[in-house]
Symmetry: D2
């Protein structure tokens, strides 16, 4: 594999980062990427999107996260070079450093605003967009990468696409224990203010090691890795799956659907880059011009729209008036049709004021020969070099292995539950509705 | 003075806050304000504005800060009620609690995007706007306040305006040691990742106390208060006065000036709320529709403008291409004219690519009979009740007392300093320019 | 049940505590206990005993831990009074506060130096000693308690002994989620510097609640409690069961055994209080005069003893020369006899230089109708008041429920494993020995 | 100067440290020193001595502090080698590393229990004792050092004694900004739980740099260094000069004086090592056998002594019954004689129950051509290499420069001030006494 090198900066650049303390930049190419407009735009895309509506502190952006992943790959490379580069070149080749650091820095470059919802509605894909930005000669990122080597943009793209031939390089960016997850768990915990995401990063940096086919952890680090898996599980349960955060996503989804319809009918306007998407004729520049602020600027304009549903949904999104929800388990889903009728009777269009939302995640998966996490099990190396899969050593990881954690929820307007001082709760529609809600579950 | 009370929520609402841990809400009115669109919009206005370009983590908003000030007033009231309410009603009247908490929550309600720069160019004033929002019957905030009492909006507004008759209530929100400063110092330190802003808040909460004419601190708390003043000084030096942050403000200022001119000449467009300001015919709704995202949406559109200066300034702002700067002291300001000519010769319009920027602050002021900080000296109470002004007890505060800390800088394009690999640095224009820059100062 | 009250201090006393921030004392009786010689002696007994040899920072003592438990009970009482005292007296009776706080403060009063090892060898019992100190009229603690009420010492003792009739009071001090464990997990984590023991105490304080028969947690706090159980499991694995820490205990045990023998044979001396134990004629004063420093003073004297085994064991303990160890699983224990012979051949008395040491713990136990943890399962209360046992809601707790975590180890002199530069490792004794050690396990 | 090198350990040893995270050991000699009995004994000598009586968490020992200083020198060497070793050997010679790290590790090796008080009474000196232990061929430390080179012990000793010829090496261990102070300020802050000692160590490590004649800091680090000086000032004011901590030292002093007298009169016993000092015939072994535990073991025995003054002083020390105090300023010292008479009249021997205690410190000293801090001013290097003395750049440091901070106090039994419920406060002796105490000061 080719060796890529970058000229060094005359003076190291150090950025303050509340999560990792500092982020150190010594390569010209890293500095140039940072200065590029495609990278700078990430400052305007929140890392957790609508979750800031639930955890007010979570205003951090994809810009800091990408920097954080870069910094962690840099520190992992330091560990590998110090301990595993001298003795045996097969274990760690220092020539990989630049490639892995830049791939870390750019791994999420393709994200747009509210990726999940946006992609679903407009058919974009942040991974493909990232590849495109890296490879398109019109972007400043591509120009910066080309200064290193004509092959460099492709190499970086292939690491992010997991097609680069060296599994060690790929797994530092994409695996069940990669720099990406390690950064976002810590960063999201710091900014939300929950304590669950904290695990012992300095310990992880001591026990992570390369081996012939990938990355593993030394035996004395088992508990640090176990703690990381547990933290991941807890962050999903407490933050990423938060029922109110998901309500905001539900509203966002309905809001954009309604806007699409209204725009097609010519009854609303939009700023240029979003208009291009609503018209279905967008190009890369439009995509790069989008961000959270652009979306919210349009939503703000739409709060004055003549379509009352659009105006209401825009207000609900911007001013945090979430839908409420109940858990749906077993065959209780059959009740949803009846509840939707009651909601309609109460004056809400169920297409825009109700939703079924499922969120599930596998906290850890020991082995899946195919699929997204194929072969990415976490391994612990014993003194004699034997590799043991993590769930074989940890009862906690064993408990989570292969399980799906999460829930399915039915969202609807809070009014349906009424409140103590609210006379309408005695009306039959509301009473009937409320009979189906108990302890936060949908019941018969 | 009137007693204001609010119905209690059926269930306490607790928000996560990374700075104070949690924020507790028990009053209906506080909850209603939180839900109002005027308050929710603060989510879209960054607390530190352009400083996020220097400290990438500083993405926090005025929303969290206002909540934080509310929480600190709440905790100070807890202290006062526990210790000073029972024995002598003159010391602390628990009836003040709701008023002081709501004033804390709303003290920065009137802020718009990039207040400093925006106000200068468009003649707005965030303090007056705050009063307006509180008192205007069309706002949701006003509606929420009215549910408490017809007099409540005015009372809240007068506390924020420092005209409310009880000095204890006013000083909790506005003084040299108020809940506002205590929150922002800690919050800005947390999000920038610097350690300077940290002082011992839990200790301050133990030693703060009311007396007849205001708020002071018990003798055993002198060092905690001293530390707070030192933290304040350090945050100004390290964060608020950061030369690159100010560069971004300089660019913003020039960008908006240029946009005003271009808009008047009809060669650019703007989204409705900003257009209203560029046209000089805005109303409260327009102001409330503005936020950082709206501004940046317009800037993004303007990167495609035909006016190359506007397009360049917009790009420089959005993609962080700051001007560089030198300190100007003594009579060296006279050199600026010459430097501007050189800059013009090098191809930059000095009106948009240079600036003199002064930032100075008084870290502490013992006594000033008139002016903004009139009478707001910090006092320490001895065992026998004697009050001693802080700088009389602390050599550090004495050193800072009355001094102006800060500097004056001349901003210009970085190209003027060239770089090692840059052939043009040997051209006479650049050489002449560079002769006037030494150790970061402007020299003859 | 009787109501106990104490006069209040003229001025609240606040102690600094790095774990909880501050510890607040307002009752005269708490202050008096703190001043008593029986409580002050806890300053001289390390909380983690020999574990400081492994984690150098772990120098904290039972004094701080007892204060910390007091502070947590105080904060729990605050929560209970604020939320559950007004509405229904059966849920929380504020009259319990003093009793529960004092029981928290005194729950570990009976500990002596190195309790585990010491008790085993000298037949003492820290729980009984605690009862004795509380009830004996010659102690300052008893005098302090009597000032509250003649019945108070007995009531306090019965809470600690778990015989007090109100289960809510008892469970705050002794259960699977009590103030004792919550303090020591956090404190031990802080002083060892590991991150595993950290859980979200402020959240726990929000969600803990009384119910008719005990203490439970509200439904929205499930994850905080889950995290606490996981932290507990991790602290056991990483700190309390640390193999080197246990080695120090093994040496201590052998050292005291040998000292007993030597003292009986009249070949060593001891300071008065320890001498009383070595002679088997001790009284309460002797017990109270013991502490870590007294033990180590004697060990220091014994480093000069004529008995080379005693002198060596004392040096090994004081100067941290641990034995090394391997895990013993399945039927491999049968090999120990052979290994002991090899060790003896190598010149070490196996009685003093080898040991089998087992440490196991149940991280959580859902239900055990009898035994030490009888009925102390952790329960979560749903919205309608239904109680659900924790492991039914958490897959992590379910995984740990009822399991025994820990290991059994065989300890022996490190020399048996030789080292690279050590010629004797080629001698047959050592080679034979080393054949039975692989990947840290005893093998055939 | 000679180059010293040590064989490397087969495997890096990593210790947990709550202050610096981890402490890394790669050299055999560092490991050997750690294992030596002279170094291990530091585990039994508290870093802050009697201050733990005021801040219960402050149980940390000189063992951890010495390790911490070692770790900081190691990190400073990393910075120097990365940035200043390649370009110009005169700036930093990597051959100095081992010497400076070992000197850091051993700089406080000579400390005994309660150094300050003990040295005053028994004529020992911890600096000379440290030299002795390093150079004496009977110590394990000396043996470990000799394995590096026959000259190594002397070289290490000369660095600690500040006579080593290279000022860069000496100043890393002893100057106004050395690894020693940087560790103890942070460590003491962590264990006491105060926030004042925290400064930005990671920033300091970025801006510290060598120059021809010593160590300085780059211009962009001025505020980090300023913050460090302020932290130092605050720790002295809040922790090291704490009036109750000093009371404990006063009692300790009187207790040892009385014990000396009683021992000479043959009316008390002592354990061997302390007995050697009381008899005035001690050798190095006796000194090494002393520690806090030995002292307190003797004090515990003396609580049963027949001399009531000795027994009382021992109890006061062990069970924290401090004397109380007032500040003495100006000519008020003349009143002390009168107060002592009153105290004697009240039944206390003033020789053992009163004291004048002065504690003053210079937080920073810009330049003193002679004396202890000669030439150790802190310097900031500008871009062009000019050195500027710190107080010229920082108004805070200028304010502290050359000043003496601290106070003089008169200590006496608390009973003299009586208490509200105490009838004797109306007796004339007490009334007369109390007339001279106001707001914590001695008054006429």
């Amino acid at each position: 594999m080719k060796k890529f090198t970058s000229p060094k900066l005359a003076k190291k650049v150090i950025l303050r980062d509340p999560v990792h303390g500092t982020i150190s930049i010594t390569d010209q190419v890293v500095f140039d990427i940072l200065q590029s407009r495609e990278f700078q735009r990430l400052r305007r895309i929140k890392q957790l999107g609508p979750i800031a509506f639930v955890f007010p502190g979570a205003t951090h952006t994809r810009f800091e996260h990408n920097l954080g992943v870069y910094e962690l790959t840099r520190r992992i490379c330091d560990t590998f070079e110090e301990k595993y580069a001298g003795e045996d070149e097969n274990l760690w080749n220092p020539d990989n450093r630049l490639l892995v650091e830049v791939a870390g820095l750019l791994h999420d470059l393709g994200h747009g605003p509210y990726s999940h919802t946006f992609e679903h509605l407009f058919g974009t894909n942040h991974e493909l967009m990232g590849q495109k930005i890296i490879l398109d000669p019109r972007t400043e990122v591509n120009q910066a990468l080309l200064k290193v080597d004509p092959e460099f943009p492709k190499a970086v793209a292939s690491v992010i696409a997991k097609t680069y031939p060296d599994p060690k390089v790929v797994k530092m960016i994409s695996s069940q224990a990669d720099a990406d997850r390690m950064d976002y768990l810590q960063r999201d915990a710091y900014y939300t203010g929950v304590s669950y995401g904290s695990f012992d990063m300095s310990r992880i940096l001591q026990v992570i090691r390369p081996y012939k086919d990938g990355i593993c952890f030394t035996e004395n680090g088992m508990h640090a890795v176990e703690d990381y898996i547990v933290s991941r599980y807890q962050m999903y349960q407490q933050v990423y799956f938060h029922k109110v955060g998901r309500s905001t996503e539900v509203i966002l989804h309905h809001l954009l659907e309604r806007a699409k319809k209204d725009y097609e009918e010519g009854i609303i306007m939009a700023t240029p880059s979003l208009a291009a998407f609503l018209e279905g004729k967008w190009d890369l520049t439009d995509y790069l011009d989008l961000n959270d602020g652009v979306m919210e600027t349009n939503f703000t304009m739409w709060t004055h729209a003549k379509d009352p549903i659009l105006a209401d949904l825009a207000s609900r999104y911007l001013f945090r008036k979430p839908l409420t929800s109940v858990k749906v388990v077993g065959d209780k889903k059959k009740l949803v049709t009846k509840l939707k009728s009651l909601i309609e009777e109460a004056g809400f269009d169920p297409a825009y004021y109700t939703a079924i939302n499922s969120m599930f995640d596998q906290p850890y998966d020991a082995y899946k020969p195919t699929g997204k996490n194929a072969n990415s099990q976490i391994e612990i190396m014993e003194d004699d070099g034997t590799l043991i899969e993590l769930s074989k050593m940890s009862p906690l990881v064993e408990a989570l292995d292969g399980t799906l954690q999460g829930d399915e929820r039915f969202y609807f307007p809070k009014t349906m539950l009424g409140s103590e001082n609210d006379p309408q709760i005695f009306e039959p529609i509301y009473r009937q509705f409320q009979e189906h809600v108990h302890n936060g579950y949908l019941v018969e």
